[in-house]
Symmetry: C2
């Protein structure tokens, strides 16, 4: 049985940054999230691809212990084309081809249904809700989203958020969704909708955890050479749910560790194009950076 | 003998934020910095005011143990009028009256000249350099600056930076001055110019310390109610130099503590208009928040 179950997109990305470019690279929120989760546990993907999707990419995911039985087959794979300017802060979209994603109906394999941990990676909130409803008795639902759904499907998004235990979103999305420039106020509003915690990702500035009682601030890793930030948010969320699924512990104290692992995997991901760097990261690399995280916040 | 010696502006500020306003309030970089430093040591100010400057403000500074013998008397006090919009990120200047500051010549009282610690708060870099030259044998020079000098006096600014041991600047200034969006790269460039360290202030996101070998990331304090961020950067620098002067220790390990004290005083300062909140902060308040800083970065 795969655990966590991750619903999100599997895509072919064409990306250009000031440091290079890549065409039709393996991408999508579920891809990055499951790759990151695979360092800690055995995730299963819920998504859709087309007949054009490279067989070797599926083989690669399987080799990483990722269950792909929950990936439906449609006509053509979802494609995204985008670029980053010199400051690397924000992806600019050139083209989005929904393709098979437009007609995707969530179909959950029987052996997924007893999973205890769910990660709702970035995808239509109605599909996220569908996934929740098909898992029998989940212990923890972690949900990510993005500005597109805040702008175009806010009502459905809020409905799904109310089913989540932990909401993960980035700082600009938190300000936008909860209509306040103050992140503490945004977090307090979010905490009224979810059962457990809110995690705000701040890119190079790290991440914040709010549980209502406690506050945790994870530093950002000081990266000198960022090649491509695509998928860093998904990688963060995937490592987080992967670590929680491995330790079977979603208490505040363990969430802090999960956030640090999320930050570490995301920092590695930014060092290569697409998920390239994630392919070569070792457990030793992860532990090395974990110690650096400890050291750099000591006083 | 006052130590640290702080050169900067003493001003009358008129400020408006979405949460209130204040007219002709005690302000200026040397004011905020010396008030913050006074929690740890006995600072002396180098600056200029006019005949219109309220006597009770001088009396207040003296009562806090701040030496004002180095404040020259000109015709009219420097005035700044500005406002903040809802996101409170950036001060918008409505009016700047240099007044006496335009004709200020640095004049250093004899009993200041043996001071060991100097803080060059935000003021014309030529005046900062003047101050350095008049102190006999300083042990540590910490320098702050702002975008205005980067834009208008870059050459003189770089000349002064080369005399500093520690450069303190905010993230947008670091990117601007060193012409890179990457803060690690900016810090590495800065480290080639100063003898000891670079500290990058990131507002709500905390502060970073770079020494070439080590990296420290101080979290931001999660403030729900920011009333007026005026002077937070100066407060940060003042508490930093005050704590270093008290402990007579500028090693990397102690710099981390100094940065946390800087962050704490700055976080309190943002809770009131002008330096109002700094007037009521107690040592107990400072230690309380110090423990919160420890707790919120633990994992």
């Amino acid at each position: 049985m795969p655990d966590p179950v991750i619903i999100g997109t599997v895509a072919l990305d064409s990306i250009e940054t000031p440091f290079g470019k890549v065409k039709d690279a393996l991408g999508g929120s579920a891809t990055y999230a499951s790759l990151a989760a695979s360092f800690f546990s055995k995730p299963g993907i819920l998504s859709v691809i087309g007949k054009d999707f490279p067989k070797e990419d599926i083989a690669f995911l399987n080799k990483r212990g990722i269950d792909t039985a929950g990936i439906s087959l449609g006509d053509k794979t979802f494609r995204w084309q985008g670029f980053y300017e010199f400051d690397m802060n924000e992806a600019k979209t050139l083209r989005t081809e929904l393709n098979a994603l437009e007609f995707y109906k969530v179909s959950v394999p029987e052996h997924y249904k007893d999973a205890k941990y769910i990660f709702l990676a970035n995808i239509d909130p109605e599909l996220q809700l569908e996934a929740i409803n098909r898992i029998k008795n989940p212990e923890l639902i972690v949900m990510d989203t993005m500005n597109f759904w805040i702008e175009h499907k806010k009502k459905q998004l809020l409905k799904t958020i109310k089913k989540a235990d932990i909401l993960v979103l980035n700082d600009s999305e938190a300000r936008q969704l909860f209509e306040t420039p103050n992140l503490v106020k945004a977090a307090n509003k979010a905490l009224k909708m979810v059962s457990k915690a809110v995690i705000i990702k701040k890119g190079e500035h790290g991440a914040l955890l709010f549980t209502g009682k406690k506050h945790f601030s994870a530093p950002g890793y000081p990266l000198e050479n960022i090649k491509d930030p695509t998928g860093c948010g998904d990688t963060f969320g995937g490592a987080l749910i992967g670590y929680i699924a491995k330790t079977k512990d979603a208490d505040e104290k363990n969430l802090r560790k999960a956030i640090v692992y999320g930050s570490i995997l995301a920092s590695y991901n930014a060092e290569g194009f697409g998920p390239e760097r994630l392919k070569s990261v070792s457990h030793g690399d992860i532990e090395k950076r974990y110690n650096e995280f400890r050291e750099m916040r000591e006083f």
